[in-house]
C-alpha cells in the first residue's frame, strides 16, 4: 500500500445543500473545518469531546457531534448546520418557538439544541416531554435550567403560522414595555447562528497562541530552553516570564499577585509558564511540547487545614502561614447573645469546590490599531471595564488607549469576571508580532485557569430562645483559596457579610480565613462566597427547628428580615418581602401536608437566600485611571465615579433609538431589560431601540455583569439618560403648545398634552424637528450607589448594596434508599426581586439557578489527585445536569417595589443560586 504523505486532501462537503470543496488535513474534525475553513461559526465548540452537544449538526438527518467526525469521512453525505435552518430570510417555526418561549439565554448551546430538536420533530412532529428529553439529553445548557427549551420544542407547531403571537403571559403590568415578558432583543441572532462569540471572529493575517502550563504543583523554574520550539516552522514567537512585564495583576488592588507568565516560581499544576504564538493552533500546540523546562520541585500543600500549620510549604512570602485574607467581624455581643439563648447548637459543614463551566470557553483576540498605539481587545468577559483597567496597569498605557470589545458571552457565572491570561498574552504578543492574535481555552484549560467556587470548611453555632428567635450566631470558616488571590478577599468577606441580611441577628461573629494552597485559584462563582455559609446556616436552622419541634418555615418567619432595617453589620435593607416569599412557597408547595408526612425515600425541605443588587463600591478605589499613575486612594464612603453610564441617541429621522452602555450581556438578559427600560421611559416601542453595549469606544463605562448589578445600576442610568432625552425633546414641543414640559407625556410612540387630548404629535416627528433646529438629540444618564453605604469597620464595604433580593424555595426529592442516589423532583420558588422588568427573564434566571444549584449539590465537584492534578477537567467526568436530570420547577414572584431600583426592580440571578444550593 502506497503511503500518502500529502499534508492535505481535497474533500467535497455538501453543507446546507451547497457543495464546498475544501483542503483538509486527515486529522481535522468536521467541526474545525466548518468553523475554521468555511467560517460557518454558528456551530460551536464547547468541549470538543462529544459531551456538550454545542457542535451538533445533522448528517443525513441524524444529529451528530461534529467534533467526533473527521471531515475526511464526510464526503457524500448531507450536512445541515444552524446557518441553513432559516430559509429565505424566514425563521423556522422551531426557531420562532425558541424565541417566544424564552428558551435562550447566553445562546451558546442554542444552535446545537435547535439541531437536535429539529432532528426530533422531523421524525416526530408532536413529541412527548419524555421524547424531547431523550432527544436533547446530549445538549448541555448551563443557563436556562431546560424548562423553556422543553416548552419551545413541545409547542413548536404553534409557530408554523407566521402570525401566531407569543405564548400567553400573565404579566399584570401598568406599563407598556416594562413588566412584560418581551422576547429577548438578541434572540434572532442566537437562533440562527449569526451571533458571533469571541472565538467566532476572524481577522486577516491572524496568529494563534497556546499556553504551556506547569506540570508540577510547586517549584522554581531553573532553566527554560525554547530554542526547538522557536525553530519549528510556523512558530512566530515564544514568550516566557522574562518577556512579560514585572507588574503584577489580579482583582483586588490590595493583593495583585499574579504575573502574566510565571517569573521564577510555579504554584499549581496549570500555572502559566510560557506561550507559543504560531500560524495556527496546531503548530502552537506542537511547539509547546518542544519547550524544555527544568524545575526544582518544592513541597506542595493542597489542604487549607494543613497549609496554615507551622512548617507547611509557603506559597507566597507575603501571606504568612498561607493566610491570604483574615476576617474577624464581631457585631453586638455574642457572649451575651449565647448566654440569653435557651438552646444552642453547633455543627460543621463543608461546601463543594465547583466550577462555573460556562459552555463558551474563554477567548481573546487582540490587535493594535491606528498608529500602533491603540490596543483593541475582543474578550469573552463579564467586566469589559476591569479588563481595560487591568490591561492599562500591566502594559502601563493610558486607559484611553485601550478599546475593549465584548461580543456575546456564552455564559460566565463569575468565571469571566477578571482579566484572563488570554487578554494579557494576546495584547503583549500582538504588539511584538504586529499581527492580530487569537487565543481560546480548551475545556481542560478552563479548569486549570480555575476561579471556581471556594471549598469552605465551616463551623456554625446558633443560639435561640424557646420560640426559635435567634439570639446569637457565630461562624468560623476556612476557604480553600488555591494559589492566587483572584476575587478571594471579597469571597472571604461575603462568606460572612451576607448571613445577617436574611434574618434579624442581634449578635454575630464571623471569623474567616482564606488560605493559599497549590491548586488553581478560586474566585467569584455565582453568589461569590455566600452560598455555602448560607447552606450551612439554613441546615443548622432546620436542625434547631427539629430539635425544638418548631416548623422550619415558622422559625424563619419568626426571624425574617423586615423592610427598612439596618442589619447588625450595617447593611441598609430597603424593600424586603422575605416573609411573603416564605408564606407563598409554603402554600404553593403544599408544605404543611407534606412536611414530615412523606413516605420513606421521599423528602421535602426548605432553604432561603438572597443577595446584593450590585456591589456598593467599585473593585478599585479612586478615579478611572491607570493604577501605576497613582497609589490607591484612601477609602471614602461614596462612589468616586458613576458605576453605570448611558447615552441615548436618537436617529436623525426620529424613528430609532440607539442605547449606549457598556453593560455586559452574558446571557442573563441585560440587553433586553435595559432596552425595555429605555423604551418605557421614552414612551416608544421596544423594537425601535437598539442597544450597543459591546464596544468601550462607543458606549460609556459600566462596571459590568457581576454582583447582580446590571438591572439596578445600569437600569437607573438608562432611565435617567432616557429622561434627559425627553427633557430636551419636550422643550420645543411645550413651546409649540404654549405649555410647560411637565404637562407633556410620551407614550405609544406619541407625545401628548396631558390635559388636552387633541394635542398630539408623533414621537418621531417631534424628534425630527428637534434635530432640524438643535442638532443631535442625545441624552446622558449615570448612576452612583447612594453615599455612606456600610459601617466603619474594616471590610465594611463588602456586602453593601443599594438593595437586597430575597427568596424561599421548597425542594422535593426522592432517594434510592439502596444506592443513595438522589433524584431532585421538584422545586417551588418564590422570589422578591422587586418589580420585575421582564418576568420571563426572571423565571429563566431562577430556573437556570435551580439546575446549577441542584447540580452543584448532588453531582459537581472538582477532584484532585495527591499531586494537585485535576482528575476530572472535562465534561465527561465533571458532571453538569442534563435535561433528563433537571427537576420540575415552579418559579413565582411576590409583589415588591424597590425604591432604589429602576421601576422598582432589583436582582435575581445570584440570589436564586443561594437557595438552591442550600435547599
Amino acid at each position: 500500500m502506497e503511503q500518502r504523505r500529502k499534508e492535505h486532501r481535497i474533500v467535497v462537503l455538501k453543507i446546507n445543500g451547497e457543495e464546498h470543496s475544501v483542503a483538509v488535513k486527515d486529522g481535522e474534525t468536521l467541526l474545525d473545518v466548518l468553523r475554521g475553513r468555511l467560517r460557518l461559526t454558528g456551530t460551536k465548540k464547547g468541549c470538543n469531546l462529544g459531551v456538550c452537544g454545542a457542535c451538533t449538526v445533522l448528517v443525513n438527518g441524524e444529529p451528530k457531534n461534529s467534533c467526533l467526525l473527521l471531515a475526511s469521512s464526510c464526503e457524500g453525505v448531507e450536512i445541515n448546520t444552524i446557518e441553513g435552518i432559516a430559509q429565505g430570510g424566514m425563521l423556522h417555526p422551531l426557531q420562532r418557538s425558541f424565541i417566544n418561549y424564552g428558551a435562550i439565554q447566553c445562546g451558546f448551546c442554542t444552535p446545537g439544541m435547535i439541531m437536535s430538536a429539529l432532528a426530533l420533530i422531523k421524525q416526530n412532529a408532536r413529541p412527548s416531554e419524555e421524547e424531547i428529553k431523550e432527544a436533547l439529553s446530549g445538549n448541555l445548557c448551563r443557563c436556562t435550567g431546560y424548562v423553556r427549551i422543553i416548552e419551545a420544542v413541545k409547542n413548536w407547531k404553534k409557530y408554523e403560522n407566521k402570525k401566531s403571537p407569543p405564548p400567553q403571559s400573565d404579566d399584570l403590568s401598568q406599563f407598556a414595555t416594562v413588566g412584560r415578558s418581551m422576547p429577548r432583543v438578541d434572540a434572532a441572532d442566537k437562533v440562527t447562528g449569526r451571533a458571533k462569540f469571541t472565538a467566532d471572529y476572524y481577522f486577516e493575517n491572524m496568529l494563534y497562541g497556546k499556553i504551556l502550563h506547569s506540570p508540577i504543583a510547586h517549584g522554581l523554574i531553573k532553566k527554560i530552553d525554547a530554542s526547538a520550539a522557536e525553530a519549528l516552522p510556523g512558530v512566530k514567537l515564544v514568550l516566557t516570564g522574562k518577556d512579560v512585564p514585572d507588574i503584577t495583576y489580579g482583582v483586588s488592588p490590595a493583593r495583585y499577585d499574579e504575573h502574566v507568565l510565571a517569573k521564577e516560581r510555579v504554584r499549581y499544576v496549570g500555572d502559566e509558564v510560557a506561550a507559543v504564538i504560531a500560524v495556527d493552533e496546531e503548530t502552537a500546540d506542537r511547539a509547546l511540547n518542544l519547550i524544555k523546562i527544568e524545575y526544582e520541585e518544592l513541597p506542595a500543600v493542597f489542604n487549607p487545614m494543613e497549609a496554615i500549620n507551622k512548617g507547611a510549604p509557603q506559597l507566597h512570602d507575603r501571606y504568612k502561614d498561607n493566610i491570604n485574607t483574615y476576617v474577624d467581624h464581631h457585631f453586638g455581643n455574642i457572649e451575651k447573645g449565647f448566654a440569653e439563648a435557651d438552646y444552642i447548637r453547633e455543627e460543621e459543614f463543608v461546601g463543594n469546590h465547583t466550577y462555573q463551566n460556562s459552555l463558551e470557553p474563554h477567548a481573546s483576540i487582540a490587535y493594535w490599531d491606528n498608529d500602533g498605539s491603540i490596543l483593541v481587545v475582543y474578550s469573552s468577559t463579564q467586566v469589559p471595564h476591569y479588563v481595560q483597567y487591568m490591561l492599562a496597569r500591566v502594559l502601563d498605557i493610558p486607559l484611553g488607549n485601550i478599546r475593549v470589545f465584548r461580543p456575546p458571552v456564552g455564559g460566565a457565572f463569575g468565571g469571566k469576571s477578571e482579566t484572563s491570561p488570554l487578554d494579557l498574552i494576546t495584547a503583549i504578543a500582538s504588539k511584538k508580532t504586529g499581527r492580530p492574535m487569537k487565543m481560546v481555552y480548551t475545556r481542560e484549560e478552563m479548569f486549570l485557569h480555575g476561579r471556581g467556587r471556594h471549598k469552605q470548611y465551616m463551623k456554625f453555632k446558633i443560639g435561640v430562645k424557646k420560640n426559635g428567635k435567634i439570639t446569637a450566631v457565630k461562624s468560623k470558616i476556612y476557604l480553600d483559596g488555591g494559589a492566587y488571590t483572584s476575587f478571594g478577599i471579597v469571597t472571604a468577606y461575603y462568606a460572612g457579610s451576607m448571613i445577617p441580611t436574611l434574618y434579624q441577628i442581634p449578635n454575630y461573629r464571623y471569623e474567616g480565613f482564606r488560605v493559599m494552597t497549590n491548586k488553581p485559584a478560586c474566585g467569584a462563582m455565582r453568589g461569590n462566597g455566600a452560598p455555602q455559609p448560607r447552606f450551612a446556616f439554613e441546615c443548622l436552622l432546620n436542625m434547631i427547628a427539629d430539635d425544638l419541634g418548631i416548623d422550619p418555615i415558622e422559625i424563619r418567619l419568626t426571624n425574617a428580615m423586615n423592610p427598612h432595617t439596618r442589619t447588625c453589620n450595617d447593611l441598609d435593607v430597603r424593600s424586603c418581602e422575605f416573609k411573603a416569599t416564605l408564606e407563598e412557597v409554603a402554600r404553593k408547595s403544599g408544605w404543611s401536608e407534606k412536611y414530615k408526612s412523606l413516605p420513606p425515600g421521599k423528602g421535602i425541605g426548605i432553604g432561603c437566600g438572597g443577595f446584593v443588587s450590585g456591589a456598593g463600591y467599585a473593585i478599585y478605589r479612586g478615579q478611572v485611571q491607570r493604577s501605576s499613575e497613582k497609589k490607591p486612594e484612601t477609602f471614602v464612603k461614596k462612589a468616586v465615579f458613576p458605576h453605570s453610564n448611558a447615552i441615548v441617541k436618537i436617529s436623525e429621522d426620529g424613528t430609532a433609538v440607539v442605547l449606549l452602555i457598556l453593560a455586559a450581556e452574558i446571557g442573563q438578559g441585560a440587553a433586553t431589560v435595559l432596552s425595555q427600560i429605555c423604551a418605557e421611559t421614552l414612551g416608544i416601542s421596544l423594537h425601535r431601540v437598539r442597544i450597543r453595549a459591546e464596544d468601550s469606544d462607543i458606549s460609556p463605562l459600566d462596571l459590568g455583569a457581576y454582583s447582580s448589578r446590571t438591572t439596578l445600576m445600569g437600569g437607573n442610568a438608562v432611565a435617567r439618560a432616557s429622561r434627559d432625552v425627553l427633557d430636551k425633546l419636550f422643550a420645543p414641543v411645550s413651546k409649540m403648545w404654549a405649555c410647560a414640559s411637565k404637562d407633556l407625556t410620551a407614550k405609544d410612540n406619541h407625545i401628548f398634552y396631558k390635559s388636552d387630548k387633541s394635542k398630539v404629535i408623533e414621537w418621531a416627528e417631534a424628534a425630527r424637528k428637534y434635530f432640524n433646529e438643535n442638532g443631535p438629540l442625545v441624552g446622558t444618564g449615570w448612576y452612583k450607589p447612594p453615599e455612606g453605604l456600610g459601617g466603619d469597620y474594616k471590610g465594611a464595604a463588602v456586602g453593601t448594596s443599594p438593595a437586597f433580593s430575597y427568596g424561599s424555595s421548597v425542594c422535593e426529592c426522592i432517594v434510592d434508599l439502596e444506592t443513595g442516589k438522589v433524584k431532585i423532583e421538584k422545586f417551588t420558588d418564590y422570589h422578591d426581586c422587586g418589580t420585575p422588568i421582564n418576568p420571563k427573564a426572571v423565571h429563566g434566571q431562577v430556573e437556570g439557578a435551580v439546575v446549577m444549584g441542584a447540580g452543584e449539590t448532588i453531582m459537581e465537584e472538582i477532584i484532585y489527585d495527591e499531586k494537585g492534578n485535576i482528575l476530572n477537567p472535562n465534561l465527561h467526568d465533571y458532571l453538569l445536569m442534563t435535561i433528563k436530570d433537571a427537576p420540575e420547577i415552579f418559579s413565582g414572584l411576590v409583589d415588591s417595589y424597590e425604591p432604589e431600583g429602576p421601576y422598582g426592580a432589583k436582582e435575581v440571578g445570584e440570589g436564586a443560586t443561594l437557595r438552591f444550593l442550600d435547599t
Binding site: 500500500m1 503511503q3 500518502r4 488535513k25 486527515d26 486529522g27 481535522e28 474534525t29 470538543n48 469531546l49 462529544g50 459531551v51 452537544g53 451538533t56 441524524e62 444529529p63 451528530k64 457531534n65 467534533c67 467526533l68 467526525l69 473527521l70 475526511s72 469521512s73 437536535s116 432532528a119 431523550e134 432527544a135 436533547l136 439529553s137 446530549g138 445538549n139 496546531e282 500546540d285 506542537r286 439502596e818 444506592t819 442516589k821 453531582m859 477532584i863 482528575l871 476530572n872 472535562n874 465527561h876 467526568d877 458532571l879 445536569m881 442534563t882 435535561i883 433528563k884 436530570d885
Partner: protein, 291 residues
C-alpha cells in the same frame, strides 16, 4: 492534540482493510470514532494511521438466520435501539443501548466499537455475554469465532490480533422462558459511564431456574461472569431469598477499583443492589410479565 499527524484511510473492501492492517504500523481501526477520537484528542493513545470502516456496507445491519441474530460490527447504537429483532428477542440489549451516552453519540457509535474499545464500564458487553454471544474475528484468509466472554483481556485490551477485525456479533436465540435484564448505576441520567452494572439472564423450566447467567460490568478489568453467583441459582425456585443470597455472592465475586466515579466499597454495594434488581426484572421477563 495527537490528531494532527493522523493519516486517514477509507478502504472500500474488507480485503483492503486486511491488507492495510497487515502492512501498516501504528494503526487503529475506527468505527464510529466516539471512543477513538476522544482518546486521541486527550492524548490517552497514540497512533499514526486510522483505518475507517464506514465505507464497508457489509459490516452494517441486523439479521436473523436460523437460530441466531447477526449484528454487523458497524451497526450503530441507535439502530440497535430501534431494531425490532433486538427488541423482540433481547430487549435487555436495547435497554443497555438506550442507557448509553446521548442521541448524537449513539448515532455515531457502533456495537463493534463498544466491544473493541474494551472499556471496563462499556454497556453492551455484559448483556451480550449473558446472552452467550460470540464474535467473528477475520483477517486475510482466515476467520475465527470466539465467545465474547473470552474476548477481553484487560482494560482496553482484547484478544483481537493486530491484523484481525471484529466483523460481526452472533447472538443465539434464547430458549423459551428466558428473561434478561441490564441494570446500571450512573450519577446522572444521560451521558454518564456506569459506576457498576449487572446483566442477568434466567431460563425457567417447570418453575425452577434451569440456567442463570450473571455478568458484572465496571467492577473488574473486563466484564466478568459472576460464576458462583450464576451457579448458585440453578435448580432453585426463584425467590426473594435466593436472589438476595445470589446478589451477596455476586458482590463477593466483584473486584472493583476505587476511582473518581466510585470507591471499592460503593461499587460492591452497588453490585449487590443491581444484581437483585436485574434478577427481578429477568424473572418477570422470563415469566412473560414484562413488555
Amino acid at each position: 492534540m495527537t490528531l494532527s499527524n493522523i493519516v486517514y484511510y477509507e478502504p472500500r473492501t474488507l480485503t483492503e482493510i486486511f491488507k492495510l492492517l497487515k502492512g501498516l504500523n501504528s494503526v487503529r481501526v475506527m468505527a464510529g470514532g466516539t471512543d477513538l477520537l476522544v482518546d486521541l484528542k486527550q492524548g490517552l493513545i497514540d497512533t499514526r494511521n486510522i483505518i475507517s470502516l464506514h465505507k464497508i456496507r457489509e459490516l452494517k445491519g441486523i439479521e436473523k438466520k436460523n437460530n441466531t441474530i447477526k449484528i454487523g460490527a458497524l451497526t450503530s447504537i441507535q439502530e440497535i435501539i430501534s431494531n425490532s429483532l433486538i427488541n423482540q428477542h433481547i430487549p435487555a440489549l436495547a435497554d443497555a443501548a438506550k442507557s448509553m451516552a446521548s442521541h448524537q453519540v449513539r448515532s455515531l457509535a457502533t456495537i463493534g466499537g463498544n466491544i473493541c474499545s474494551a472499556v471496563p464500564s462499556a454497556d453492551l458487553p455484559p448483556p451480550l455475554i449473558a446472552a452467550e454471544a460470540t464474535v467473528d474475528l477475520k483477517c486475510l484468509g482466515s476467520s475465527r469465532e470466539v465467545p465474547l466472554s473470552d474476548f477481553f483481556r484487560g482494560p482496553r485490551e482484547t484478544i483481537c490480533r493486530k491484523e484481525e477485525l471484529l466483523t460481526s456479533i452472533f447472538i443465539p436465540l434464547q430458549p423459551p422462558n428466558t428473561g434478561m435484564s441490564y441494570k446500571k448505576f450512573t450519577p446522572r441520567e444521560a451521558t454518564a459511564l456506569a459506576v457498576a452494572s449487572v446483566a442477568a439472564s434466567l431460563t425457567l423450566k417447570n418453575g425452577v431456574i434451569a440456567k442463570a447467567v450473571i455478568v458484572l460490568g465496571a467492577v473488574a478489568p473486563t466484564p466478568v461472569m459472576a460464576l458462583k453467583a450464576s451457579k448458585s441459582l440453578t435448580t432453585k425456585e426463584p425467590s426473594e431469598d435466593s436472589f438476595q443470597e445470589t446478589a451477596l455472592t455476586a458482590k463477593e465475586e466483584s473486584k472493583p477499583i476505587s476511582d473518581i466515579r466510585g470507591s471499592i466499597w460503593f461499587r460492591k454495594e452497588l453490585i449487590y443492589v443491581l444484581t437483585r434488581r436485574a434478577l427481578d426484572e429477568a424473572l418477570s421477563r422470563a415469566q412473560g410479565k414484562l413488555e
